[in-house]
């Protein structure tokens, strides 16, 4: 998945400008973009979550200033900063509540602290919504009025954009679509959240590893044990390599993930009926650039064609996201822009 590394100069850029911040458990990405979503600068700094949220807020403030300096524009030309953050959170209050991947950052007023350190107004968003807005604004969804982005990784992130509206929910828990119940049975697979039968329990990296381990325990024929004996780790990446090398079990597990994603997408079509569903994140098997990625997408579409209302199956665009790891900071800048225009 290509990252955006094609920057425009301050001379070409169109004011007003926005800064996007993408706060992750490991890294914080920051960049300045112009009014058309074109990046002028980009940098990444370690989150160092263990130092706590006040320290990180100070470093985010510094990083914003550095990104503005590198973009070679006046700080006064920045209209607003957007901050995309993992949940749980309270978006209207600008608070982190109990962020799973940022231990000890509970109940922290991150929006106002980052604003304090960078000296600019900050728009606050869920990271899934920010990534979805990035794809909607300038990525694979830019031609569409509405979209759903699924980010497939250890868990399943999601963002829903309808027009310029992000479906954040009344309690900042909108678009938690990894936690859609797709199997109501009592013995359904258990999700990372502790509940059972969720989409994420069937179609995340965690689910892939569990399925592979179960198949290994059952002694199914596969090349995986040879790789594990070589010291490799059981992961979607390993399964992808083995599937590409002809291992049928690995391919079967990957296509089963696709089938479940198809079911999840049908549920979104029958609730939101968007123009477009995009798939991003680490577990997209190389996307459109690999045979395996294309097979993964084809299997998803087959399941959608089989199970969605015919009109919706015919009209929906399902594809890979194109902004890769840059979707978050670009989308956060886009959400800052929407907030700026509304005020």
């Amino acid at each position: 998945m290509s990252q955006v590394r094609c920057f425009i100069s301050a001379v070409e850029a169109q004011a007003p400008f926005f800064v996007g911040l993408d706060l992750g458990g490991t890294n914080i990405k920051v960049g300045v973009v112009d009014d058309q979503g074109r990046p002028l600068s980009w940098l990444s700094v370690p989150t160092e979550a263990e130092k706590g949220p006040e320290d990180a807020s100070a470093r985010m403030g510094e990083a914003v200033k550095r990104a503005i300096f590198e973009a070679d524009i006046e700080p006064s030309a920045i209209a607003r900063v957007g901050l995309g953050s993992p949940g749980t959170m309270d978006i209207p209050a600008g608070m982190l509540v109990e962020p799973v991947n940022l231990k000890g950052w509970d109940h922290f007023p991150i929006r106002d602290r980052v604003s304090h350190y960078c000296g600019l107004p900050v728009a606050f968003a869920n990271d899934g919504a920010a990534a979805a807005y990035g794809e909607f604004w300038i990525g694979a969804g830019r031609e569409f009025h509405s979209l759903v982005l699924f980010t497939l990784g250890t868990g399943i992130g999601c963002g829903i954009i309808i027009g310029d509206l992000s479906i954040d929910g009344e309690n900042s828990h909108g678009a938690e679509c990894g936690h859609l119940i797709i199997n109501d049975a009592e013995d359904a697979r258990v999700c990372g959240c502790g509940q059972s039968g969720h989409l994420e329990a069937y179609a995340s990296a965690t689910a892939v590893i569990k399925c592979a381990q179960e198949a290994l325990d059952a002694g199914r024929p596969t090349s995986l044990p040879d790789r594990l004996a070589e010291g490799k780790e059981l992961s979607p990446k390993l399964l992808a390599q083995e599937a590409e090398a002809g291992d049928r079990l690995s391919l079967e597990i990957i296509l089963e993930v696709a089938r479940y994603m198809g079911i999840g997408i049908v549920n979104l079509l029958h609730t939101i009926d968007p123009n477009c569903v995009l798939l991003g994140g680490a577990m997209t098997f190389g996307g459109n650039e690999t045979e395996l990625g294309r097979r993964f997408l084809t299997r998803i579409k087959e399941e959608v064609n089989r199970r969605a209302f015919a009109l919706l199956a015919e009209r929906i665009t399902i594809d890979f996201a194109t902004l890769g790891g840059d979707a978050g900071y670009l989308g956060a800048a886009g959400i800052a822009r929407v907030e700026h225009m509304r005020k």
Copy 2:
């Protein structure tokens, strides 16, 4: 479920006025409401679907005129008419597409034909969305910013309102939440639409009758055979009577519907995160006014408490709708009002 039969006079009413039309397979309901959603008049005429959509459009035009006459206001005081209609439909185009309950009405430009016959601009909406908007505007959801209404009957209707926005979808298939997949198994129950594993296959009147028949076929102990021998029809109403009279099987089937509705509601909480979920329609077992209705609601809430994110389970309001069969025409008038205000 109480119908709105408390009309205000033209003297008390507040302009502008709106007319709501609720087109059903059997009857068409029409009423004039004021700017605060208070009804001034109401009438119902048979749909006579077999006479075709042009004939019905003409009678809808006449019914609008009669409702205005009965409201005792000048036709010129009506700002707009709202028409709620069953799908499938194309809302922006004002077209019926293939309405399941209106045989032979396919591809009919109903919005413009009704507008022609009543001489007023017409706003066009899905009947599920209209009912949801009615509850949102002046019913059980009037205190909230967002809601989901499930209408439980032969099938499951749904409407999603966020602020003044109805989630109609890009292809007029938004909020088809009866067709959420909650059981991905190949042997899952079959829905009225032909697909399997849908919420509607587990929690509609049709599902109740199927479950009861299966239990009868399996020879499970129940008072139902006695009632059938008396010539009564197997229906949710019969099961409700028998459950109230102490039949354990009937109660079990009704509470199983509640459990499935709980699962459906969890999926909406994890996608939309609304303030409020309401249950309306014929299959609500008397609602808050009966012991059985209250048990039904309690069972739904138990399942939501068990399966939703704790914060959402704690904050969501789940209750019965209050407008009964009037939700559709009142909500259609409300949607007309929103369209009027936007233009």
